[in-house]
């Protein structure tokens, strides 16, 4: 089977690079099912380039840089590249803002799966969020109710186009039910996110040495905002004077300068580390050193890769009481402490319920470890391949 994947990938810094990286990494090990992987990736800044080695036992990869974040003609360029490379199946690893921050370009880009299928290719979409559950304002779109209504209407239309793909995979059970009920779709399936990490790692045997290390990880500024977390941290410092807060990651591309603003605004709060961009090699260290991973989300736009990463490292998690996340935690077997979104008091209390109780910390970490390692992404890749085989038989 020759598979094309439309995605972002490191060193690109767009959304879903992490997922794209790990999915492709494990797809390359499936030599018994896959003969070639055709990567349809986005343009990188000057001086950067994609690098894929070729080791024995790996599926060969060819890279085709054929779309650009923010461009209007992404769908056409992707279709053209698919026509030239002739894969058996094309998989899109996308969310609603994958192709652009602007509304028009984002919408046009999302027509790509429909265009590719219309050209006669089997098409699957891994859709990481759905319009029905996105808080547009907090996700960086919208701003006034009229614009939001217009975006929602366009969102409905775009969703209908995306649903023209042969298969549409989503990562949360509720998404399947929403798409089936609202759009009468019968080609939507649940494909859980899966854990990025290797399954041969062992559950940590003890709380990491040193002072309490509270960590958050991601691309910040839209719906991942750290103000409440910093204020919660400030509240717990008197009782935990050596505690550290690690804000790991960068600004969301739509909100450049956000973390610099936070650094200035909260210059009075000690013991905060801003790591900046975290490379793949640094990820195990950042997670390994943490006592607890906090999700300072104001809304969610899909399943959280960070939750699966935290679980893979056996870490307890503190999450807001928001529909998607709470449901995901329960349905995927994770355990977390919850706080009221936008309440520093509630968040500080939730963090203390973890870091003040080492046994509870280890117990939660263990449950999350089991949940994350129960379904590593390599097995999720097998789920897709089994569905692709089924698709190619039709």
């Amino acid at each position: 089977m020759k598979i094309a994947i439309v995605s972002t990938h490191p060193p690109g810094k767009g959304s879903l690079t992490e997922y794209g990286y790990h999915f492709i990494r494990f797809l390359r090990t499936k030599t018994e099912n896959v003969s070639e992987i055709i990567l349809l990736l986005d343009e990188l800044p000057a001086g950067e380039k994609y690098e894929f080695g070729q080791e024995p036992g790996q599926v060969p990869v060819s890279v085709h840089v054929c779309w650009k974040f923010g461009a209007m003609n992404n769908a056409l360029r992707i279709r053209q590249t698919v026509l030239e490379t002739k894969p058996d199946v094309v998989l899109f690893n996308i969310q609603f803002a994958s192709f652009a921050g602007g509304k028009v370009a984002a919408t046009l880009g999302l027509l790509a799966p429909w265009l590719v299928r219309s050209s006669g290719f089997k098409t699957a979409v891994l859709l990481h969020n759905i319009m029905e559950t996105v808080n547009l304002k907090q996700a960086g779109f919208g701003g006034n109710p009229v614009i939001e209504t217009v975006i929602r209407l366009f969102g409905n239309m775009v969703t209908r186009f995306i649903l023209q793909a042969n298969l549409v995979a989503v990562t949360i059970p509720k998404y399947v039910e929403i798409l089936e009920a609202k759009y009468h779709a019968n080609n939507v399936l649940l494909a859980p996110h899966g854990s990025f990490e290797e399954t041969n790692r062992e559950m940590p045997s003890a709380v990491p040495a040193g002072p309490p290390n509270i960590m958050t990880f991601g691309k910040f500024g839209t719906y991942k905002k750290v103000e409440v977390l910093v204020e919660a941290f400030e509240r717990l410092l008197p009782d935990h004077p050596t505690a550290k807060l690690v804000i790991a990651g960068t600004d969301n591309p739509n909100v450049k300068g956000y973390l610099d603003g936070i650094r200035d605004k909260y210059a009075r709060v000690p013991n905060i580390t801003f790591t900046g961009y975290v490379s793949e090699e640094q990820v195990p260290i950042i997670f390994g050193d943490s006592w607890v991973v906090v999700f300072p989300y104001t809304s969610t736009t899909g399943s959280s890769g960070v939750l699966h990463q935290a679980g893979g490292y056996g870490k307890p998690v503190v999450l807001p009481r928001l529909g998607d996340l709470e449901q995901l935690v329960i349905e995927e077997g994770y355990e977390g402490e919850f706080f009221e979104p936008e309440s520093p008091e509630s968040l500080a209390e939730a963090i203390c319920r973890v870091i003040d109780h080492p046994e509870r910390m280890m117990e939660m970490g263990s449950v999350n470890f089991m949940a994350a390692t129960g379904l590593p992404i390599t097995e999720v890749v097998d789920w897709y391949l089994i569905h692709f085989e089924q698709l190619l038989k039709k």
């Binding site: 059970p173 494909a191 077997g333 089991m370 949940a371 129960g374 379904l375 089994i386 569905h387």
Partner: protein
């Protein structure tokens, strides 16, 4: 002139796992281990009787997918006896594995007629 007798022996080994209770991240590794052992000794046909499974999560499903993939590679197959509990059958429908796995009745596990 003596008759000609052509003898053909058909031996098809099918292993059936009848699972009772929750098939989740905590219980799935034990099932996976059992299945791996049979695969390693050459068994390629499996039935997972899920009729008494009360809850099935993604880790449990991963065992079924892994078994299907590996049995197909050995020219075998995996069949499912559908769970009676709605909570367990729901995830099979959501994942569209009802279109991937062949489901059978528990009475069909052993070929009839003997």
């Amino acid at each position: 002139m003596s008759i000609e007798i052509k003898t053909t022996e058909y031996v098809l080994k099918i292993v059936c796992f009848a699972i009772k209770g929750r098939l989740d991240a905590f219980e799935a590794p034990a099932l996976r281990k059992r299945c791996d052992d049979f695969l390693a000794e050459g068994t390629a046909h499996f039935v997972f009787d899920l009729s008494e499974v009360t809850m099935l999560d993604s880790a449990g499903l991963a065992v079924l997918v892994s078994a299907l993939k590996r049995s197909r590679m050995a020219s075998g197959d995996v069949r499912l006896v559908w769970p009676r509990e709605e909570i367990a059958s729901r995830i099979l429908k959501l994942t569209k594995f009802d279109q991937v796995f062949t489901s059978i009745d528990s009475s069909e596990i052993v070929p009839k007629g003997f």
